[in-house]
């Protein structure tokens, strides 16, 4: 048995209150020197709050309890204080400037300079050293916006490693990465660990935690459920710790039965609006039946989101091909046309394209249905509230009130609002783009159940997802995309992760081989 390493960070009895809620309730945890410490919990469990205390975003005095770093109590009043101690956080949403170069981003805020004039040579040398340290082969002069998300993530890590770093905290670092990029990140983190950087790795994705973490701490409802070495845990045990009950099946049983074809798409081809000579989606044909869930799988950038948005009339340059809804050929040139034909689209990115976070739950829910809730141009406010309330109860959305701003809700409840918004339009065809991204296990299951109920009630569902278990667990048939083209359609009972993956990575050739 190895000797227990010394404690780098200790959180002792930390309690943090927000008006009306207790975000952290007497949380204690220890992070050991040189380990990768996994942290998981449902949305709203308090992970982000805890990290904000460690970074000084919530200054000392706004919470109860104590934080010890390298054995001595610390009182961070701002992020500068925590950075001076060597604590760095990489947030879920990257904090980089797209218009600047990689080198400028890495040194932003602390450029090597004399009399205010930046020393370009030093800037690029430091950048190269930092990028080499994590084994990232990215030119320092590249404009950040021209890089893929995975490479941007690497830049963010390189930036965090500048100066004296003891503890690196990564908050959901892989939510936008594809599998190859995730593998690359894991390799980088292991190298960092070997060079003596301690790491807190926050993630929903248990597979990643089990791959990389030495120990795992689980938070639930603001309390620390426990910390255990990864080798003593199984995925099911962690899920049980997170939700407080043993999970019997992660997907609900299918109660639905497929009916007649609702939507047929034939030879659907879309060019990119910014680079019109490139195809985003090429020659896609499929049918979806009432009561059926069509899963769409593929790697990041394979054209899945573009397919959904172009079918919805809101993406692409001169789309061509046919859309046939219940036997009638349709022309969809805007979301209004699509909504009128009974389509709904739950977008992938609820903050930027799905919801108006500064507006209330009810206003968000009713936005696409306002014409149906109005007498002439005048909105019937009471009918609107009543309709919103009905769905809040039906979907069990946890919100302080239907008049509360969406930004005050947890991720899972925000996602429920974006689904509810489309349910209110009574769609025949519901398209969901990454319906469970960034939400907790419990809410995920509720959304799966809801999808099954909707299909059972005769809705045709199209679901794009990057998570293979979700695609396999929820779909009746699976359309796999590869570089904008259709690599194949697989019946769910004949599908396996390997089969889907090989189609997604190699395209239609996979089935020939």
């Amino acid at each position: 048995m190895q000797q227990r390493p010394s404690t780098l960070l200790e959180v002792r009895s930390v309690t943090k209150d927000f008006p009306g809620t207790r975000a952290l309730d007497n949380v204690s945890m220890e992070v050991w020197e040189g380990e990768i410490h996994g942290l998981c919990g449902e949305n709203g469990a308090g992970k982000t709050t805890l990290m904000k205390i460690l970074s000084g975003s919530y200054p000392y005095g706004t919470y109860e309890g104590q934080v010890f770093f390298q054995g001595k109590p610390v009182r961070f009043l701002g992020t500068r204080d925590s950075e001076a101690e060597g604590i760095r956080i990489i947030h879920q949403e990257l904090a980089l400037v797209k218009q600047l170069t990689v080198a400028e981003n890495i040194c932003l805020g602390a450029e090597p300079a004399k009399y205010g004039i930046v020393d370009e040579m030093k800037l690029h040398r430091e950048t190269r050293q930092l990028l080499n340290r994590i084994g990232a082969n990215i030119p320092g002069s590249a404009v950040l916006g021209s890089l893929g998300v995975g490479q941007q993530q690497m830049v963010e890590i390189a930036k965090a490693l500048r100066g004296h770093v003891r503890l690196l905290i990564l908050d959901e670092p892989t939510s936008a990465l594809n599998d190859a990029e995730v593998a690359n990140l894991m390799r980088t983190l292991r190298e960092l660990k070997n060079s003596g950087v301690t790491c807190i790795y926050i993630s929903h994705k248990l597979r990643e935690l089990f791959e990389i973490a030495d120990r795992i701490t689980v938070l639930r409802d603001g309390r620390c459920v426990g910390t255990k070495p990864t080798s003593d845990l199984t995925e099911d045990e962690v899920i049980a710790m997170m939700v407080g009950r043993a999970q019997t099946g992660r997907f609900p049983p299918k109660t639905r039965r497929a009916g007649k074809v609702v939507l047929s798409v034939r030879n659907w081809t879309v060019r990119k609006p910014d680079k019109k000579y490139l195809y985003a989606v090429r020659d896609i044909s499929f049918d979806v039946r009432a009561g059926e869930t069509l899963g769409i799988s593929g790697l990041m950038g394979s054209g899945r989101t573009e397919l959904l948005q172009s079918l919805f009339g809101e993406y692409g340059f001169q789309p061509s091909g046919e859309i046939i809804i219940e036997g009638r050929k349709c022309r969809i040139s805007s979301s209004r046309d699509a909504i009128a034909l009974g389509m709904g689209l739950v977008t992938e990115d609820r903050k930027n394209t799905g919801l108006i976070t500064i507006h209330s739950v009810s206003h968000n829910m009713t936005l696409p249905s306002l014409p149906n809730l109005s007498n002439g141009p005048v909105v019937n406010a009471s009918l609107e509230l009543a309709s919103a309330l009905e769905l809040v109860e039906k979907l069990n959305i946890r919100t302080p009130s239907i008049e509360a701003k969406v930004e005050t809700l947890s991720g899972g409840n925000q996602q429920k609002v974006s689904v509810a918004k489309w349910l209110m339009t009574n769609p025949r065809i519901l398209m969901l783009d990454e319906p469970t991204r960034g939400i907790d296990v419990g809410t995920k299951y509720q959304i799966y159940e809801l999808m099954d109920q909707l299909a059972a009630a005769g809705m045709a569902i199209i679901m794009v997802s990057s998570e293979l278990p979700e695609i396999l667990g929820m779909s009746d048939r699976i359309l796999v995309m590869h570089e904008g083209r259709m690599a194949g359609i697989v019946e769910a009972r004949e599908a396996s992760p390997e089969k889907i993956m090989s189609l997604a990575t190699m395209g239609a050739r996979a089935s020939v081989n």
Partner: protein
């Protein structure tokens, strides 16, 4: 749904619906009350400094008339800013439409005012009505034109309306040749200077009180019909009574001078109408949605382009009204009429709580903001403070108002 059942419905963390609604009301109202208190504080300060003259009916009447023109522009600006845009051309457009009205009456169609008689109209009114209609129609058309540039041309509103400012200022100089165009026909003057007769004022107060009561009762009924908890009867009655006292008090004070000024009563009607559009119609809701999150609004089926054109059309129409009243008040069109009014209108909106980021705004707030700006102008003039100080003080108050708003969030 049964009301009792709804009361029991626990939607949040152990809080009933009625408690939630009450909580929100308090928070929303707190903001509004802060502004009312700020205005009252300014009034009290000025009243003390002027030994009471500031609050005399004569001066209050003046103050409200001064507020009127900025008020029209501020109402439209709430829509524009809430949608996430800006309109820098409203002052110049008011000047231009006012100049067009004056030119029509005096230079282009003088025969109309001298000779045309319509049996059921007082002499002079045919020409005035045509001039007013022209100002409104041209204002609206120009608004649509700017809206098309913004919505379909994808040119930032800042640039379109900055260009518009120059175009309209140039046009004013071109058509007036830089000289004052006046005097206007008495009928035209009355639009900016007349007062309602006392009988009309009392009738109006009665109508307003009746409307307030009717609205309260109707919305209460509607709430109960859909099973939402209404306020307790006594608090509803108290609130209604306060509104009615305000209306009656306003009319009584105005009557102690010359009566309710025509441009002011018209402003109040426009504000009520626009506030209804903003709060209760699809156009208003879409305006907020576009400013709150353009992409989300577009993907939710909002016809973004059409809404933007409509907003600019409304702004143009309101600029036309402001132009007419400006010309009527000055009894002439001048080359620099409406200069910098756009800044006053934007300031009134911002002081009144409209977010420059877009997504939320308030028309009553903007009117209060306009009243704050006018009060400072008026009060400082009474104190013989030099004009340059007035500008400096207004500028600082704008900054402080926004600072307080930012800090209180």
């Amino acid at each position: 749904m049964e009301r009792a059942q709804l009361e029991r419905a626990q939607i949040g963390v152990g809080v009933t619906l009625s408690e939630q609604l009450a909580r929100r009301k308090i928070k929303d109202n707190l903001r509004a009350y802060t502004m009312v208190f700020a205005l009252l504080a300014i009034w009290v300060t000025l009243a003390i400094a002027t030994q009471g003259t500031f609050l005399e009916p004569r001066n209050l009447s003046n103050l409200f008339r001064q507020t009127a023109i900025n008020g029209y522009l501020a109402i439209g600006m709430v829509f524009v800013i809430t949608a996430g845009h800006i309109d820098l051309s409203v002052g110049a457009l008011a000047g231009l439409t006012g100049a067009i009205a004056a030119m029509l009456q005096i230079k282009w169609l003088p025969a109309l005012s001298a000779h045309v008689r319509v049996a059921w109209l007082q002499p002079g009114w045919p020409s005035t009505l045509i001039a007013v209609a022209a100002a409104l129609i041209i204002g609206t058309m120009i608004g649509i034109w700017q809206g098309v540039w913004v919505a379909h041309g994808q040119v930032p509103a800042f640039i379109v309306t900055l260009g518009g400012l120059l175009v309209f200022r140039g046009s004013i100089l071109g058509i007036t040749k830089g000289i004052n165009i006046g005097p206007m026909d008495p009928s035209f003057q009355s639009l900016g200077q007349a007062y309602l007769s006392h009988t009309a004022g009392i009738a109006l107060a009665a109508v307003a009180v009746a409307l307030i009561v009717w609205f309260t009762v109707a919305s209460r009924r509607n709430k109960i019909k859909y099973g939402f908890p209404a306020r307790p009867l006594w608090s509803e009655a108290l609130l209604t009574a306060i509104y009615c006292v305000l209306v009656v008090g306003f009319v009584v004070i105005m009557h102690r001078y010359r009566g309710v000024p025509l441009p002011v009563i018209f402003l109040i009607i426009m504000a009520a109408l626009c506030s209804f559009v903003f709060k209760r119609t699809q156009l208003g809701r879409y305006t907020c949605a576009i400013g709150g999150n353009l992409e989300a609004a577009r993907l939710s089926g909002v016809n973004v382009r059409r809404v933007i054109v409509q907003i600019f059309a409304l702004m143009g129409a309101l600029s036309g009204i402001a132009g007419v009243i400006l010309t009527a008040r000055l009894n002439a069109a001048t080359a620099n009429a409406g200069n910098q009014f756009e800044l006053n209108a934007i300031a009134a909106c911002v002081i009144g709580g409209t977010s420059l980021q877009g997504g939320s705004g308030s028309i009553p707030g903007a009117l209060l903001g306009a009243l704050v700006m006018a009060s400072i102008d008026n009060g400082l003039s009474m104190l013989n403070v030099e004009a340059f100080w007035q500008q400096i003080i207004k500028g600082l108050i704008l900054m402080v108002a926004v600072l307080m708003d930012v800090k209180s969030r």
